[in-house]
């Protein structure tokens, strides 16, 4: 068995009739931070959705392996319980379910163990303070009426609480001001350790100003066209994607 946490092998994928991913290959080891950059419509968000097997998309060929197991056809919740987390670009609003109750329930599903209410609330409060979140949001309905920034921070909060092995952050930095991006980067640093990994998906590289990453991949038209280190992101920032099109 390889020591890869995640492997995407030659993945082809359609949305209805349209081919979106055209042979994606990606390997992520524990302890690494990867970035996928690419212009709008290149297939970045689709890649994240493919890992969690969103049924809006149809996998045509290739597979996705997590900790040595083919997870291509597992249900979304099974994949999540194996330790894959995705921070959504547009988190859904769930009226009537408070942040606390939701996270408690999700945590219980993830660990299969009962959640100790008092300890859990304390933990939640601490994370929220560190992420500059309003503690009153804990009792509000999940994402309902949250500002764009609050929603993104709430995704990071969920990541910290659920503590996955692989965290995929889909455009978590988009639409945020400088301070909020710093908070998000701080959240990633709080999360990151030797045994887990992060996959950041972004179309700009503001978040990379505050964060050290191991690999940068450039995704254009459903394919990874270049892979490099943090410098590649700087080159893209200056030159754009023109030469890859």
């Amino acid at each position: 068995m390889s020591d890869n946490l995640l492997e995407i092998n030659n993945l082809y994928l359609n949305a209805e009739e349209k081919e979106i991913l055209k042979g994606i290959n990606l390997k992520i080891k524990p302890g690494e931070i990867h970035v996928i950059m690419g212009p709008n419509g290149s297939g970045k968000t689709t890649t994240a959705n493919a890992i969690l097997n969103n049924l809006e998309y149809t996998k045509k060929s290739g597979n996705i392996v997590f900790e040595g197991e083919d997870i291509s056809n597992l249900k979304t919740d099974e994949i999540a319980r194996k330790g894959v987390f995705m921070s959504f670009q547009l988190p859904e609003e769930i009226p009537g379910i408070s942040v606390t109750n939701f996270l408690k329930y999700a945590k219980n599903k993830m660990t299969g163990e009962p959640v100790k209410v008092f300890k859990f609330k304390e933990e939640l409060k601490q994370y929220m303070e560190q992420l500059n979140m309003n503690p009153q949001n804990m009792e509000r309905s999940l994402n309902v009426g949250f500002s764009g920034g609050e929603k993104k921070k709430n995704e990071i909060l969920q990541m910290l609480v659920l503590n996955p092995k692989l965290a995929i952050l889909d455009e978590t930095d988009s639409g945020l001001d400088v301070d909020a991006i710093k908070t998000v980067s701080k959240g990633i640093e709080m999360f990151k350790n030797e045994s887990n990994a992060v996959l950041i998906i972004t179309h700009n590289n503001k978040i990379l100003h505050n964060l050290k990453v191991d690999y940068v991949h450039v995704l254009v038209d459903g394919k990874i066209v270049a892979t490099g280190n943090q410098e590649l992101a700087t080159i893209i920032e200056n030159e754009g994607y023109g030469k890859y099109k």
């Binding site: 959705n49 919740d77 859904e92 769930i94 009537g96 329930y105």
Partner: protein
Amino acid sequence: MSKTYVEDINRNVYDIKNEDNYDYKIQKGLTREIVEEISKQKKDPDWMREIRLKALEAYNNLELPTWGPDLSELKMDEIATYVRPKTGMSNSWEDVPEDIRNTFDKLGIPESEKKSLAGVGAQYDSEVVYHNMKEELIKQGVIYTDMETAVREYPEIVKEHFMKCVPITDHKFVALHAAVWSGGSFVYIPKGVKLEMPLQSYFRLNSPESGQFEHTLIIVEEGASLHFIEGCSAPKYNKVNLHAGCVELYVKDNAYLRYSTIENWSKNMLNLNTKKAIIGKNAQVDWVTGSFGSKISMLYPLSVLNGEGAKTEYTGISFAGEGQNLDTGFKTIHNAPNTSSVVNSKSISKNGGKCTYRSLVKISENAKGSKCSVSCESLMLDDISISDTIPVNDVQTDEVEFSHEAKIGKISDKTIFYLMSRGLSEEDAKAMIVRGFAAPISNELPVEYAVEMNNLINLELEGAIG
């Protein structure tokens, strides 16, 4: 989810069938002889007997509704309208016969009486078998008793109010109710008395092929305040049972009444109920209603805002599953200046069930400065169910703010994916969304009842979603 996630309850709690072990069961059908016999059995005073006979005449003259659910399976010839259980009324659970007491025990009534209620009434078939209230309330002049006792002991008050809020000719089933009514609760809250804990009446229909026709009469005097809860259930039989209760609420100036209902009749029940409140100056009535049971329900509580500045709110949810046709909603009539009404209705249809929201908002010519806002949301859980919204908005003057909004749709795939990405199975995700959808209503209920409602939702969703 400390509140919402509790162990599933056993449906059997609602389905306990006791032996049809009555003291007296009147012959089936509806004739003058039968009505006179009921009156005799109940030892009515003459004036009450006259109301019954007048109501029977009205019943015979009125047509079935030309709208709403099909009621053709209701055959009055097959319904016994009066079933007296084998016990008298008591104010101690010890004195209630064991099988009946066990039923109420399992429904959690004596338990919640101890914990969180100011008083409890329990009706079994046609008669109230238990009624009790905290001592200190009696001292404050609060009256909470069964209707029969009220007719005997407070004839003047009852005469003045009984079937005066709801006229007997209002519709066919009100007339039926007035002809054969039995049981129910009478509540009188004196001026300025504010009850901190709710009163609860629970109605249980055990006898097959019978009907329950309890009458609830509540008078909340000026500046007084009350939370009244009614619960109802019945075990399931193969033939239809009928429930045609009537609730009359008089809420005087500056008074407040919250009327909560958790309705969980068995799925062979025709629930043709009538509820109406007359609301005085700056007074307020809030209705909170959860409709889960019954085969057919037709229920549209009516708030008449007669005093300037009167207010009413309706918060309701109905959940229709296989074979159920729940036609529910709200009516409000603004009859005075600066009155206001707020309606928040939700419905869930699954497994071929049908939910209809039917309503009337009428703002009369003299209701200047009134406000009304209505919001209806319907959730379809599959493509064999039905969900209809039929609201009438009748505005007769210009100085008003009126708005009505309704939405219909299914649970979004995106939302399900989001929750599944957090480790919830598809079933859990859908159940969570449904519970969240119902939360505005369960939040309005006392904790025990919110738990019961969520249990009912869990029960209803079990196996329904996939």
